[in-house]
C-alpha cells in the first residue's frame, strides 16, 4: 500500500467539497484510478466527468500535477503513483 496526498483547487473544490485528503491505495495505482476513487467518494462520480472526456482523455485545459509535474509530461492518466506523492488537480484557470 502507498500513501498519496490529493489537493483540489478552484471549482473542483466546489464539486468534491474538500481542499485536500490523504489516500491509502494499492501500490500499482495510477492517476486515473486515483481520480476515480476521489470522484466516487466525494462527488458521486461528478468530478471524473469534469476531468476526463468520453474517450478517457484528460479534458482540454484541465491540469493534473504529480509532485508539481504536469502529467502530460509523464505518462498522462496512466502515470503510476508512488508512496508520498502529492497530486494537484485544477480545472481550467486563467490569470496574469
Amino acid at each position: 500500500m502507498i500513501n498519496v496526498k490529493v489537493r483540489v483547487f478552484a471549482t473542483f473544490r466546489d464539486i468534491v467539497g474538500i481542499k485536500e485528503t490523504d489516500f491509502q491505495l494499492p501500490s500499482s495505482v495510477t492517476v486515473r484510478l486515483l481520480v476515480q476513487t476521489l470522484s466516487d467518494k466525494y462527488s458521486h462520480g461528478k468530478l471524473e466527468q469534469e476531468v476526463f472526456d468520453k474517450s478517457g482523455k484528460v479534458q482540454k485545459y484541465v491540469k493534473i500535477l504529480v509532485n508539481g509535474r504536469d502529467i502530460d509530461f509523464l505518462d498522462g492518466p496512466s502515470t503510476q503513483l508512488n508512496d508520498g506523492d502529492i497530486v494537484a488537480m485544477f480545472p481550467p484557470v486563467g490569470g496574469g
Partner: protein
C-alpha cells in the same frame, strides 16, 4: 483612413489637433505601436525622463470604444524614469473609450506646467484647470472632487496619486479608481509635468467601415468568449486570483524575494479564500463581458477597507514575495496602492528586496525608524505604501525601486529586476520560456510582453491549446519571439489580453478590417507586431541598452532552486538567447540592418 491626435503643450497651455494618415496606421495599427512610433520619431536621445523634454503619450486604438468585446483600453508611452529605457503601460478601466468619444485617438503631452493643473477635455474644448487644491490627494478623492468641480458626474478621469506627484519611480496612472497603467513609472512622468489628471467627456459615435460584417464577427466572438473555459468560467468565477495555487503547486510562485518558488502558506491568501471570505461582487472594464474584477470588503479590524481586487500579481507581490499570509492586510495594501497611485508589482518586489537586504544584514536598523523589515510583517507591507508615495522615512528608499535600493545597500545582486523593472509573479527557474521572455522584454521584466507561463503551465499559446515542457529550452526562442510580437499587436489594438484566451488572429483580423475597411490578414498583423517590437528595441538601443542587458539576476542562472517542485533547476539562458537573437535577426541585442530594412521601419 485618418485619425486625430491631440497635442498639448503644458508650458504654453495650448493644444492643437494633428492628423495621422493611413500609411502609418496600417504599419503600427494604433495604441502601443503608434505610441512607440511617435516616441521614437520625436524624442531626442538621452533626455532626462523627468525633465520637460520627455513626452507622455496616451494612445487608444482603432477598435476602442466600438461594440467589440474588451475594446476599452489605452496605452501609455514615454521614456521611463525607472529604467531609463522604454516606459509603457497598458490599462483598462473606462477612460480610454472616452478619449475616442471626445474625438481623439490619443494625446501627446509635452513640456511642464509651471503649477499643478488638470486637463478638462470636452465638446471640442481643452481647458487647463488649477489642480493646486487637488495636489496631495489620493486618486479616489481626486476623481470625486474633479467630477464635483466640473459638475460632470460621468466624466472619465485618469490621474496620479501622491506617488506620481512626488516623482516616485514606481508610480502609475489610475482611472476608474482601481485600474492602473502601472509599470515603468509612467505616473512619475505625469507628476514631473505638474499634471494631476485628465478628465474627459465625449459623445462622438465610433466610425465603423462595415457595420454588418463587424456585427457578424462580434456575435461569433461573444459566443466564443462565453463558451471558452477561461473567459466564460475561470475569470468570472475566481478572477485573476484563480492562478495563485496554479503557480504555487508547480513551485513557481516566487517567495521571499525569489529565494524559493513555493509558498507553504498559499492557501491563506489564495483566490479560493478571497472568494469565500471577502468578495462581494464582480466588476469589469468598459465593454467587457468577462468580468474578471472583484469587488471586495474587509469589514472590520485594522485593515478595514471597501474596495476592489486584489489581482493575482498584486497578491503575490504583497504576500508570498514578502512572506505575508494575512489576506486582509494584502487587500488593504493593494487598495492603498491604487489610491496612492503605485505599481503593486514593483512595490511588493521592492519591499521584499528590502526584507532580504535586512535578513542579510545589509540595512542598519538606524535607517528603518519604526519599520519592521522581518519576513512576514503584514503591518510593514501596509504602512510603507503611503510612506513610499509621500517619500517619508524608509518609504523614500522603496520609492526608487529595487535596483536602486539594492545598489544603495551594497548588494545589487539582491534586486530581482531586468533592465531596472521589477520581476512579476513567476519564478524563472521553473519556467524556461518565461525566463527568456523576462530577459528579452524591451521594457524590462514583464509577463505581459510574452506570457510564456500560459504555454508552459496553463496549456495555452497564441490563441490555441498549446503546452510546452516548462523545464525544456528547445523551441522556447521562436515561441517567445512570436508571443512578444502577438502581444504587441493586441496592445496596439487595445483589446484585453484575457480575450485572447478565447480568440486568435483570424478573429482579430476580421474585427480590425470590419472597423477600418482594411484587408490585413493575420500574417500582415504579425508582421506589424514584429515591426513594433523591433522599433521598441531600437528605442532602447538608442538609449544605450545592448545584449548585455538581455539577462537575469544571477541568482536564477547560478543558484539551483533550493526547494519545492522546481528544486534543482536553474535558468539555462545561454541555451536560448543565441537562438532567440537568430530568430529575431538581432546582433548583440540590436536589430541588424537587414531586419530593419525588411520591416520597413
Amino acid at each position: 483612413m485618418e485619425i486625430s491626435v491631440l497635442r498639448v503643450d503644458l508650458a504654453e497651455k495650448s493644444s492643437k489637433v494633428e492628423k495621422i494618415g493611413d500609411q502609418v496606421l496600417r504599419r503600427y495599427l494604433g495604441g502601443r505601436g503608434l505610441g512607440a512610433k511617435i516616441l521614437y520619431d520625436e524624442l531626442k536621445p538621452k533626455v532626462d525622463p523627468l525633465k520637460p523634454e520627455n513626452k507622455l503619450i496616451f494612445m487608444t486604438g482603432p477598435l476602442v470604444g466600438t461594440y467589440i468585446p474588451t475594446a476599452g483600453r489605452f496605452h501609455v508611452i514615454t521614456k521611463s524614469p525607472l529604467t531609463g529605457g522604454l516606459g509603457e503601460a497598458n490599462c483598462g478601466g473606462d477612460w480610454g473609450p472616452e478619449i475616442r468619444f471626445a474625438g481623439y485617438e490619443g494625446i501627446i503631452l509635452e513640456g511642464r506646467s509651471s503649477e499643478p493643473v488638470y486637463l478638462w477635455i470636452h465638446d471640442g474644448a481643452v481647458e487647463f484647470k488649477s489642480a493646486g487644491k487637488l495636489w496631495g490627494n489620493g486618486v479616489w478623492q481626486t476623481e470625486d472632487r474633479i467630477r464635483e468641480e466640473l459638475g460632470a458626474k460621468d466624466a472619465k478621469i485618469a490621474s496620479i496619486g501622491p506617488a506620481g506627484e512626488n516623482l516616485v519611480l514606481i508610480a502609475g496612472i489610475v482611472n476608474k479608481k482601481h485600474r492602473v497603467a502601472a509599470r515603468t513609472g509612467v505616473g512619475a512622468v505625469m507628476g514631473s509635468k505638474n499634471l494631476k489628471a485628465i478628465a474627459v467627456k465625449g459623445a462622438k459615435k465610433m466610425p465603423v467601415a462595415d457595420d454588418a460584417k463587424l456585427h457578424e464577427t462580434v456575435k461569433k466572438v461573444q459566443q466564443v468568449i462565453k463558451e471558452n473555459p477561461y473567459t466564460g468560467k475561470s475569470y468570472p468565477t475566481l478572477g485573476t486570483m484563480a492562478l495563485f495555487n496554479m503557480m504555487n503547486e508547480p513551485g513557481i510562485l516566487p517567495t521571499r524575494n525569489f529565494q524559493s518558488g513555493y509558498f507553504p502558506k498559499a492557501d491563506a491568501v489564495s483566490g479560493e479564500t478571497l472568494r469565500d471570505k471577502y468578495v462581494k461582487g464582480q466588476t469589469s472594464c468598459w465593454g467587457c463581458p468577462i468580468q474578471c474584477g472583484r469587488v471586495t470588503e474587509v469589514k472590520t479590524g485594522p485593515y478595514k477597507i471597501d474596495g476592489q481586487g486584489p489581482e493575482y500579481e498584486s497578491v503575490w507581490a504583497l504576500s508570498a514575495d514578502c512572506d505575508v499570509d494575512n489576506l486582509e492586510a494584502v487587500i488593504k495594501a493593494s487598495n492603498l496602492c491604487d489610491d496612492m497611485g503605485i505599481d503593486t508589482i514593483s512595490y511588493g518586489n521592492t519591499v521584499a528586496c528590502a526584507m532580504e537586504l535586512f535578513e542579510k544584514g545589509k540595512i542598519p536598523k538606524s535607517d528603518l525608524g519604526n519599520i519592521d523589515l522581518r519576513w512576514g510583517s503584514a503591518e510593514t507591507v501596509v504602512n510603507l505604501v503611503e510612506m513610499t508615495a509621500r517619500r517619508k522615512g524608509f518609504g523614500n528608499h522603496i520609492a526608487d525601486g529595487c535596483m536602486r535600493l539594492a545598489k544603495k545597500y551594497g548588494a545589487p545582486e539582491l534586486a530581482m529586476q531586468v533592465k531596472g523593472l521589477e520581476l512579476p509573479a513567476y519564478e524563472p527557474r521553473g519556467v524556461q520560456g518565461q525566463a527568456l521572455a523576462f530577459a528579452t522584454s524591451n521594457r524590462g521584466a514583464c509577463h505581459l510582453r510574452a506570457y510564456m507561463a500560459a504555454t508552459e503551465i496553463m496549456g495555452f499559446g497564441l490563441g490555441m491549446p498549446m503546452k510546452l515542457d516548462r523545464f525544456e529550452t528547445k523551441g522556447k526562442a521562436i515561441m517567445t519571439k512570436m508571443a512578444q510580437e502577438a502581444l504587441a499587436v493586441i496592445d496596439s489594438l487595445n483589446i484585453c489580453k484575457f480575450a485572447v484566451f478565447a480568440i486568435g488572429f483570424p478573429e482579430m483580423s476580421a474585427m480590425l478590417n470590419g472597423v477600418t475597411g482594411w484587408n490585413l490578414g493575420p500574417l500582415d498583423m504579425m508582421k506589424a507586431g514584429e515591426r513594433i517590437y523591433n522599433l521598441e528595441r531600437m528605442f532602447i538601443n538608442r538609449e544605450g541598452f545592448t545584449g548585455k542587458d538581455d539577462t537575469l539576476p544571477k541568482r536564477f542562472i547560478e543558484t539551483p532552486m533550493p526547494d519545492g517542485p522546481s528544486k534543482g533547476h536553474t535558468v539555462k539562458l545561454s541555451e536560448m538567447l543565441p537562438d532567440y537573437y537568430r530568430q529575431c535577426g538581432w546582433e548583440d541585442g540590436k536589430p541588424n540592418q537587414a531586419k530593419v530594412k525588411q520591416l520597413e521601419i
